[in-house]
C-alpha cells in the first residue's frame, strides 16, 4: 500500500477557542482536521474534569494531518491563537494513505 510522509499535529486547547483555532488553520491552508473530546487533564493551571460542567468549558483536542511542507504555516497560525492561552501543541511524523486528500 502506497503511503506518503506527512505530519500529525495535535493541539489541546480550551473549548471556547476551538472555532478561532480552526478558522486560523483554514486560513493557513489546512484542508482538514478532526476534533476529539477531552475528559479532563492537568497542567500548569491545575487539574480539571469535564464531569457535570454546565458551561462551554473544558478542552478539546484538534488533530491535523498535513503535508510536511505546510507545517511551518500551520504552526504559525496555531501559535497566534494558542499563544496567550492554556493548551499544548505537539507534532509527530506519520505516513498517510491517499495523499491526494491532503
Amino acid at each position: 500500500m502506497q503511503t506518503h510522509a506527512a505530519k500529525r499535529v495535535e493541539i489541546i486547547i480550551e473549548a471556547p477557542m476551538q472555532g478561532r483555532l480552526t478558522d486560523a488553520l483554514t486560513r493557513a491552508g489546512v484542508t482538514g482536521y478532526t476534533v476529539l473530546p477531552v475528559l479532563g487533564g492537568s497542567g500548569r493551571s491545575g487539574e480539571w474534569t469535564r464531569e457535570g460542567q454546565v458551561g462551554r468549558g473544558g478542552m478539546v483536542a484538534v488533530v491535523c494531518l498535513i503535508r510536511p511542507e505546510r507545517l511551518g504555516n500551520l504552526l504559525d497560525a496555531a501559535f497566534t491563537v494558542v499563544e496567550r492561552h492554556i493548551g499544548v501543541v505537539s507534532v509527530s511524523d506519520c505516513e498517510v494513505l491517499r495523499a491526494e486528500r491532503f
Partner: protein, 326 residues
C-alpha cells in the same frame, strides 16, 4: 427578624438546598458521584426553557406595561455599573492584579440564572407574585458587565482586550440568552393556550428537576473548591459574601425606583446579588486569557453561589417583603 430566621430555616431544609449540600459534601469527600455533562446540560436547557416560557405566559396574561422597558434598562445599567463597585472592593480587599480583579468583577455584574430560578421557585412556593418579565431582565443583565470589565483592563493598559465581532456574537447569542429570550417570546406568543399544552412538563416536575440540577451544582462547586484550595485569600472570601449584599442593595434600590411588586423587588435583588459562572467565564477565557480562571470560578461558584442559595435568597425575600410591605 423572627420571620427571616424561620424563612431561612424553611429554605435551608428544602429538598433543593439539601440536594446542593449533598453534592457539595460528596465532592468534598471525593465520592465518585457525578452527573454526566450531557445530563447537566439537558437539565439546564429544561430549566431555562421552563422559566423563560412561564415568564412569557405571565406577561401575556397581564399585558406588557411600560414596566418591561424600564426594568430592562435598569437591569442593563446595574450590570454595567456593578463591576466598577466590585473592582473597587477587590482592589481594596485583595491583592489581585488588575486583570484578575476585572475578570472577577465581570462575573458579579452579570447574573446566575440558577440562583434566579431557585429564588423564583421559593417565591412560587410562598405564593408571592412577581413580574413575568423579570426573566427578560435576567437575560439582559448577562452581557453588559463584560464590557465594563474589559474597559477596566484597557484603561489600566494591562493586556489588550480582544473584543472582535466573533466575541460579540458569542456573548450576545450565548446559549442561555437565546434560550431564555426565545422561550420567553414563545410563552408570550402562545400564552395560556400554549401553557395548557406543556404545563405538565414545565410546571409540575420543575422543582424536582431543580433538585437534581442543584445536586450537580453542588458537585461542581465542591470539586472546584477542592481543586483550588489556597487560591483564595481571606480578603477574597470576604468579597465573596460582601459583594452579593452590596449588589442586593443596589437591586433593592432599583426595584423600588421601578415600583416593582414584592416578588419583583426580591428577584431584582437576587439578580444583582448573583454572579455568573457560565456565560462570563467562557467570555473571559477568550477576551482575558491571562486572568486566572480558578479565582473567578471559585469565588462565584464556590463562595457566592452557595451563600446566595442558602442565606441570601431568604434574606432578600424577607427584606423585599418588609420594604414593600408585601
Amino acid at each position: 427578624m423572627q420571620d427571616i430566621l424561620s424563612l431561612a430555616a424553611d429554605n435551608l431544609l428544602s429538598p433543593m438546598i439539601l440536594c446542593f449540600a449533598l453534592g457539595l459534601f460528596a465532592a468534598l469527600a471525593r465520592s465518585e458521584l457525578t452527573v454526566p455533562e450531557a445530563a447537566a446540560k439537558a437539565l439546564s436547557i429544561y430549566l431555562l426553557f421552563a422559566i423563560g416560557f412561564k415568564g412569557g405566559v405571565a406577561v401575556a396574561d397581564h399585558g406588557v406595561d411600560g414596566g418591561l422597558i424600564s426594568a430592562l434598562l435598569a437591569g442593563v445599567m446595574l450590570s454595567f455599573a456593578l463591576p466598577f463597585v466590585a473592582f473597587g472592593l477587590l482592589r481594596g480587599l485583595t491583592g489581585l492584579s488588575v486583570t484578575d480583579a476585572a475578570a472577577v468583577a465581570a462575573h458579579y455584574g452579570s447574573i446566575s440564572i440558577v440562583t434566579f430560578v431557585t429564588a423564583a421557585s421559593v417565591l412560587t412556593s410562598q405564593g408571592i407574585a412577581s413580574e413575568g418579565y423579570m426573566v427578560a431582565v435576567a437575560a439582559a443583565m448577562e452581557a453588559p458587565a463584560i464590557i465594563s470589565a474589559l474597559w477596566l483592563v484597557s484603561r489600566a493598559g494591562s493586556g489588550a482586550q480582544r473584543m472582535d465581532a466573533d466575541l460579540w456574537r458569542e456573548i450576545l447569542l450565548n446559549g442561555s440568552i437565546v434560550l431564555l429570550v426565545g422561550s420567553f417570546v414563545i410563552g408570550m406568543v402562545t400564552g395560556q393556550d400554549g401553557m395548557v399544552r406543556i404545563e405538565s412538563f414545565i410546571v409540575s416536575p420543575f422543582q424536582g428537576v431543580l433538585c437534581l440540577f442543584l445536586l450537580d451544582m453542588g458537585l461542581v462547586a465542591g470539586r472546584g473548591l477542592r481543586a483550588s484550595r489556597g487560591v483564595l485569600t481571606a480578603g477574597a472570601l470576604v468579597f465573596g459574601v460582601v459583594m452579593p449584599l452590596v449588589g442586593a442593595l443596589a437591586g433593592l434600590a432599583a426595584g423600588l425606583l421601578l415600583g416593582l411588586s414584592t416578588g419583583g423587588v426580591a428577584l431584582m435583588m437576587v439578580l444583582a446579588a448573583s454572579a455568573s459562572y457560565i456565560a462570563v467565564p467562557a467570555a473571559m477565557r477568550v477576551a482575558l486569557p491571562e486572568a486566572n480562571p480558578s479565582i473567578y470560578l471559585t469565588l462565584s461558584l464556590g463562595v457566592t453561589f452557595p451563600f446566595n442559595l442558602t442565606l441570601g435568597i431568604p434574606a432578600y425575600v424577607a427584606v423585599a417583603q418588609a420594604v414593600t410591605g408585601g
